[in-house]
C-alpha cells in the first residue's frame, strides 16, 4: 500500500468522524430550536411612565396655592455609557455636581440585581442647560464614548411649587419626591390633581434604546384637574395672622383657627400655626398628622356646654328648665369630687345659676345639674346627633373621629364630666360643626373644602353644593342657645372676644389636657368658638390653642384672635357692621346677600 492509498483511507475515516460531529450538532439544533423553543423567554421591554402635569390648587377667588411649573431634570442612562471618564469629563462643566458624584451615578448600572437604565443627575435644571447637555451627549455618542445619543438627557419633570410658602400649608399638604400627594388636599385629591399617568411600553435593546421596529404600546396619560377650594384667600390670611399672634403671645404648641360659613358648611379658612414651608419639607413631617384642625381630638371642655344646653332646652320640660342650680364650687359624685373653675380662681362658687347663667359664666356645676336632669341617654343622644365621634368627612386625609364613650360605660361621674365637656374628645372641625349647627338654626351642614373641580383647560367639571346632614335641634332651641352665647360675649366670660360693630355669639373653653391617660396639671387646651352676627350668622369661627403658656383661659388666649378674625372677615365678606346707628337695616341687608 502506498502512502497515498493510506492517505485516502484516512481521509475517509476523518470524514466519518467529522460527519458524526456534524450530526450531533444537527441533533442539538433540532432539540434547541424545536423542542426547547418555548424556553427562549421574552424580549426585554421597558415601560416608561408618562406623568401628566399636576394640576393646581386654588382658593375660591382663584389664587394659586400649589402649581406645577414646567421643569426639566437631567438624567442619564448608565448602561449606555461606554467610556465613563470621557463622559464625565464632557459633562462636569454643565452639571452642578462633583466628578466623584457623577462617576458614582454613572457606575450604577445595576440596582438590586436588576439592570438600571436610569440615574438622576440634577433636579430642576433650566431648559438651556438641558439642551447643551443633550448636544454634549450627541457628541459623546459620535465620538463613540456612549452607545446611545440619549445617554444623558433632560426630561420634563413634575415639580411642585407652593407660591404662598407656609400659607395654609397643613391644609394643602405636599407631594413626595415622586410627585404623589402625601399630605393634605394634595393627598386627598391626589388622583384628581395628578391625573392618570400614561405608559409607553417598548421593546428595548441592551442599553435601553427602543427598537425601531419593535413592539410598542402607548397608553396616553390623563390630565389632572384643578381643585378650587372653598378657602378664601383673605380670610385665610387673617386667620393665619391671628393664629400667629396667639402663638407669639402665649407660646402654645400650636394654634388652629377655622372659619366656616355656617349656612353652607363651606370652610373659609383653616389655619394651623406654626406652619412650615411645603417647598422645603422637613423629613419629620412626612406621614405625620400635621393638620390639627382635623386630626387632633381633644377634650373640648366648656365649649361642649353648648351641647348640654341645647339638649336641656330641647328635652327638659319648662319647670325643670326654670330650676336654678346652686354652684358651691364643688360637688361630690360617688368618690369623685368635681370642681368649678371659679373655686380655684375666687375661692367660692357661682351661686344659683339658670341655664343661661351657667353658659354665660361657664359654670361647671350648673351643667352637671342640668346634665343629671337630662340623664345620660338624652345627653348621649344629643352628643351623637351633634356628630361627636363621627368624622365630618370634610375631605382631609387622616381625619380623626374623636371619642364619644359608649353609653354602657356612662356612670354618674362620667355623665357629670361630659356635661361640661371632659371625658370625651372632639376634633376642632367637629366642634366648629357643632357651633355651626347652632348658628344655622339647628340644621347641621356637611362641612366641605372643595368648591369645584376644573378640567386642565379650566372648565368646571364638578361643583360641590351645600348639603344638609340632619336637623339636630329645633330652630327655636338654636335661637335660644344663640342668645345664651351672645350673653357670653356681651357680659360673660367671653368679653375679650367681642367684635366691634357686630353682635357676636361665642363660648370659651379651657379644657384640662389628658397626657398619657391622666389629666396633666397645668396643661390646658384653650379655645374660643362662636359665630356672628348673632341675628343672622354669616361666619362661625373657632380658635384652639394647645398648652398656652401664661394664661389658659379660652377668653384670654383665643378671644382676641376670634375678635380679630371676625371683624376682618366680616369686612372681607362685605357684611357691614350692624350695630352702627348710621347704617339703616336695609343697607346692611342689601350688602349681606352674598356670603362668600
Amino acid at each position: 500500500m502506498t502512502t497515498l492509498d493510506e492517505t485516502r483511507v484516512r481521509i475517509e475515516r476523518l470524514c466519518y468522524v467529522l460527519l458524526i460531529f456534524i450530526g450531533i450538532m444537527a441533533f442539538r439544533l433540532v432539540r434547541l430550536q424545536v423542542l426547547q423553543h418555548d424556553r427562549a423567554g421574552r424580549s426585554e421591554t421597558k415601560r416608561e411612565k408618562i406623568v401628566p402635569r399636576r394640576a393646581g390648587i386654588y382658593t375660591r377667588d382663584g389664587v394659586s396655592l400649589a402649581v406645577s411649573p414646567e421643569g426639566v431634570r437631567i438624567c442619564a442612562n448608565p448602561r449606555a455609557v461606554l467610556d465613563k471618564e470621557a463622559t464625565a469629563q464632557a459633562l462636569i462643566p454643565l452639571l452642578e455636581m462633583s466628578q466623584g458624584e457623577l462617576m458614582d451615578a454613572l457606575d450604577r448600572t445595576e440596582v438590586g440585581g436588576r439592570k438600571n437604565y436610569f440615574v438622576k443627575l440634577q433636579e430642576m435644571a433650566d431648559p438651556e442647560t438641558a439642551r447643551e447637555l443633550e448636544a454634549a451627549s450627541l457628541q459623546l455618542w459620535q465620538a463613540g464614548n456612549t452607545a446611545s445619543p440619549r445617554a444623558v438627557y433632560g426630561e420634563p419633570f413634575n415639580y411642585r411649587e407652593y407660591p404662598r410658602k407656609d400659607f395654609a400649608s397643613q391644609l394643602i399638604g405636599f407631594v413626595n419626591c415622586r410627585g404623589d400627594g402625601v399630605e393634605g388636599i394634595e393627598q386627598f385629591w391626589n388622583d384628581m390633581i395628578g391625573g392618570r399617568p400614561g405608559y409607553m411600553e417598548a421593546e428595548v435593546d441592551a442599553v435601553g434604546n427602543p427598537i425601531p421596529n419593535g413592539r410598542r404600546r402607548f397608553f396616553p396619560p390623563e390630565e389632572g384637574s384643578h381643585v378650587v377650594l372653598t378657602i378664601d384667600d383673605r380670610i385665610q390670611f387673617y386667620t393665619e395672622q391671628a393664629a400667629q399672634a396667639v402663638v407669639d403671645a402665649f407660646q402654645p404648641n400650636w394654634v388652629t383657627a377655622i372659619v366656616m360659613n355656617p349656612r353652607s358648611g363651606e370652610v373659609l379658612s383653616m389655619a394651623t400655626r406654626p406652619g412650615f414651608d411645603p417647598n422645603n419639607i422637613p423629613e419629620r413631617l412626612a406621614g405625620r398628622e400635621i393638620n390639627r384642625a382635623v386630626n387632633f381630638p381633644y377634650e373640648p371642655g366648656s365649649t361642649f356646654k353648648l351641647v348640654t344646653a341645647s339638649a336641656a332646652l330641647a328635652d327638659l320640660p319648662p319647670d325643670k328648665l326654670a330650676v336654678k342650680v346652686n354652684c358651691k364650687g364643688s360637688i361630690r359624685i360617688g368618690k369623685h369630687t368635681i370642681r368649678c373653675w371659679i373655686l380655684a380662681k375666687e375661692g367660692h362658687g357661682h351661686g344659683p345659676q339658670t341655664l343661661s347663667d351657667g353658659i354665660k359664666n361657664s359654670c361647671n356645676m350648673a351643667m352637671v345639674g342640668f346634665g343629671r336632669m337630662l340623664g345620660k341617654e338624652a345627653l348621649y343622644h344629643y352628643a351623637e346627633m351633634y356628630g361627636v365621634g363621627e368624622a365630618t368627612d370634610l375631605g382631609c386625609p387622616r381625619e380623626k373621629r374623636g371619642i364619644l364613650p359608649d353609653l354602657r360605660t356612662w356612670d354618674d361621674a362620667r355623665l357629670a364630666n361630659i356635661s361640661f365637656g371632659q371625658g370625651l374628645t372632639v376634633t376642632p372641625i367637629q366642634l366648629l360643626r357643632i357651633v355651626s349647627t347652632i348658628a344655622n338654626d339647628g340644621m347641621m351642614m356637611q362641612p366641605y373644602l372643595v368648591k369645584e373641580i376644573r378640567s386642565a383647560e379650566g372648565e368646571t367639571v364638578q361643583r360641590f353644593h351645600p348639603k344638609e346632614t340632619r336637623r339636630v335641634i329645633p330652630e327655636a332651641v338654636a335661637h335660644q342657645v344663640g342668645a345664651m352665647m351672645e350673653r357670653v360675649v356681651a357680659e360673660g366670660t367671653g368679653k375679650l372676644a367681642s367684635v366691634k360693630g357686630y353682635r357676636a355669639a361665642g363660648k370659651t373653653g379651657s379644657a384640662e389636657k389628658v397626657v398619657n391617660g391622666r389629666y396633666a396639671p397645668g396643661k390646658f387646651v384653650s379655645s374660643f368658638v362662636g359665630f356672628l352676627p348673632a341675628e343672622d350668622p354669616k361666619l362661625a369661627i373657632l380658635v384652639v390653642a394647645d398648652e398656652p403658656k401664661g394664661s389658659h383661659w379660652g377668653s384670654v388666649v383665643c378671644g382676641p384672635a376670634f375678635a380679630e378674625i371676625a371683624s376682618k372677615s366680616m369686612m372681607r365678606i362685605r357684611f357691614e357692621p350692624t350695630l352702627l346707628a348710621e347704617r339703616s337695616s336695609t343697607a346692611s341687608t342689601t350688602t349681606s346677600n352674598s356670603p362668600p
Binding site: I22, M25, L32, Q33
Partner: protein
C-alpha cells in the same frame, strides 16, 4: 511502484529552468476547478454579508454611527478575498510548494512583528499588525502557511527511500521532526500573543495533516496517549473553579440546559437567540439578541443570529453548506494523484470546516467557549480573506485531481480546450490542439 507524479519530482529532478519547463507544460491541460465548491463558497460569502448586515447594524450604529460600517468593510474584504481565491486557484502549486518554507518563515516573522511598534494591542492580546487599510491577524495567515509547509515536508519521500537512492540523510531531514518543529514554532509564537483558540485549531489542523500523511499507527497511538495523559494531568492540577466550570459545561452540554451561575453570559444570550428562532425563525433582521444583548454578534456569535432569524431551516441549511464544503474538499483530496496536493486539500478543508464546527458548537453550548470566527460569515478581514484563500488552494488542487475529468479531457481532446466549455478557437502556442500529450501530472494510476 509509485505511479504518482508528485510535485516533489518536479522540485527534485529538475534544475530551476527545468522546473519552470514542467510548470509551463503542466499549465495547459488543467481542469476547471470544482464548481460546487466554488459556488458554495461564493454563496456563503455573499449571503454571509447579508447576514452580517442583520447582525451588525445595531453594534455598528452604537459604536460607529453607521449601520453599514461593518458591511462595507466586509464587502471590501470579500472582494479582495474572492480575487485572491481565484488567483490562488490558478497559481502553480509547484512554485507554492517550493516557497512553502519561505512562507512559513515570513509568517513566523509576522508573528514576531506583533511585538514591534507595528503591533496592535487590544484587550491584553497582541494579535494584530497595523497594516493599511485594515489590521492584519498573522495567526490567520499561519493556519495556511503551516499546513502548506507540513503538507510539503510530509510528502517528501521517506528517509529509507532517500537512503536507497544514495542520498545522505541528516537527522533534521526527518519529515515528521521538521513538521513538529514547524508546529512548535508557530504554535509557540501564537501562544505567546496569546491566542489560545487559534493555537488549538492550528495544532488540530496540523495534526490532521500528519495523520493523513500516514504517520505510523504506533506513533498515532502514542500521540493519543500523550493527549490523554496531558488531559488527566490537567484535570488533576486544575483548580476548583476550573473543575466546576468543566462540570457545568459538561452538564449543560448533555442536558441542553444552562446553569446561569456558571455559564458565561454570551453563551446564555447565544442559546437564548437560537431557541427563540424556532423552526422558521423570527425573520431576517427581526432578531432581538443582536441588539447589544449578544456580545460580538457580528463575529463570534453570528450563528446565533442565523438561528434566531432564520430558524432551524436556516441553521441546518448553513450546516449543510459546510458539509458540502467538507464533502467537496475531501473528495478533491481523495481524488488527488499527488500526496502534497491531497494533504493540502484535506488539511485546508479540515481547517475551514473544523473552525465552522467549533464556532457553531460554541454558539449552541456544545463546546466550551472560545473566540472563533464562523468562516465566510463572521466579520473579520483576515479571517474571511484567509478562508477564501484556503478554498482557493483547494480549488487549485481540484484542477489537478479528477480522474474522470482527465479521462474525459483526454478522450474529447478534439473538443476545444477540453473543459467542456464553449470558447473561441485561438492560436495555440504549441500548435495543433489535437496532438496534445497527456502530461505526467495527469497520468492515471490504473494505466500500467
Amino acid at each position: 511502484m509509485d505511479h504518482t507524479w508528485d510535485t516533489r519530482a518536479a522540485l527534485m529532478s529538475a534544475p530551476r529552468g527545468g522546473a519552470a519547463q514542467v510548470v509551463s507544460r503542466a499549465k495547459k491541460p488543467l481542469n476547471p476547478f470544482d464548481p460546487t465548491l466554488f459556488f458554495v463558497t461564493l454563496f456563503l460569502t455573499v449571503s454571509g454579508i447579508c447576514m452580517l448586515f442583520s447582525a451588525s447594524y445595531a453594534v455598528g450604529i452604537a459604536r460607529h454611527q453607521s449601520a453599514f460600517h461593518y458591511v462595507w468593510k466586509q464587502m471590501v474584504f470579500a472582494g479582495i478575498g474572492l480575487a485572491l481565491m481565484i488567483a490562488c486557484s490558478k497559481v502553480n502549486l509547484i512554485t507554492v510548494r517550493r516557497l512553502s518554507f519561505l512562507l512559513l518563515l515570513v509568517t513566523a516573522l509576522l508573528l514576531v512583528l506583533v511585538w514591534s511598534p507595528f503591533g496592535l494591542e487590544l484587550s491584553g492580546a497582541r494579535r494584530w499588525l497595523k497594516t493599511w487599510p485594515f489590521a492584519l491577524q498573522p495567526s490567520e495567515v499561519a493556519k495556511l502557511t503551516l499546513i502548506l509547509f507540513i503538507a510539503h515536508t510530509l510528502s517528501i519521500r521517506q528517509r529509507s527511500t532517500r537512503r536507497m537512492a544514495g542520498g545522505s540523510v541528516e537527522w533534521w531531514q526527518e519529515p515528521l521532526l521538521r513538521a513538529a518543529l514547524a508546529i512548535g514554532l508557530i504554535a509557540g509564537l501564537i501562544l505567546f500573543e496569546p491566542h489560545l483558540s487559534v493555537v488549538v485549531m492550528l495544532t488540530a489542523g496540523a495534526a490532521v495533516v500528519c495523520f493523513l500523511a500516514g504517520i505510523p499507527r504506533r506513533l498515532l497511538w502514542a500521540a493519543i496517549g500523550a493527549c490523554v495523559l496531558v488531559g488527566v494531568i490537567g484535570l488533576a492540577t486544575a483548580k476548583d473553579y476550573q473543575i466546576k466550570r468543566i462540570e457545568s459545561w459538561f452538564g449543560s452540554a448533555l442536558t441542553c440546559a444552562e446553569d446561569p451561575e456558571v455559564t458565561p453570559y454570551q453563551i446564555i444570550q447565544s442559546v437564548k437567540g437560537v431557541r427563540a428562532g424556532g423552526l422558521v425563525g423570527v425573520g431576517f433582521c427581526e432578531g432581538k439578541q443582536k441588539l447589544l444583548f449578544l456580545p460580538s454578534a457580528h463575529n463570534d456569535f453570528i450563528f446565533s443570529v442565523v438561528g434566531e432569524e432564520l430558524g432551524l431551516l436556516g441553521t441546518l441549511f448553513t450546516l449543510g453548506l459546510y458539509v458540502v464544503i467538507l464533502w467537496r474538499g475531501f473528495h478533491i483530496a481523495y481524488q488527488s494523484e499527488d500526496q502534497f496536493c491531497s494533504l493540502l486539500a484535506a488539511g485546508l478543508t479540515t481547517t475551514v470546516t473544523l473552525e465552522a464546527m467549533v464556532n457553531i458548537g460554541v454558539a449552541i453550548n456544545l463546546l466550551p467557549t472560545t473566540g472563533m470566527a464562523l468562516p465566510f460569515i463572521s466579520y473579520g478581514g483576515s479571517s474571511l480573506i484567509m478562508n477564501l484563500v484556503m478554498v482557493g488552494f483547494i480549488l487549485n488542487v481540484s484542477r489537478h485531481s479528477s480522474l474522470q475529468t482527465w479521462r474525459g479531457l483526454h478522450e474529447d481532446s478534439a473538443r476545444g480546450r477540453g473543459n467542456g466549455r464553449a470558447h473561441l478557437p485561438r492560436a495555440d502556442h504549441r500548435g495543433s490542439r489535437g496532438v496534445r500529450q497527456p502530461s505526467r501530472l495527469h497520468r492515471v494510476r490504473w494505466r500500467p
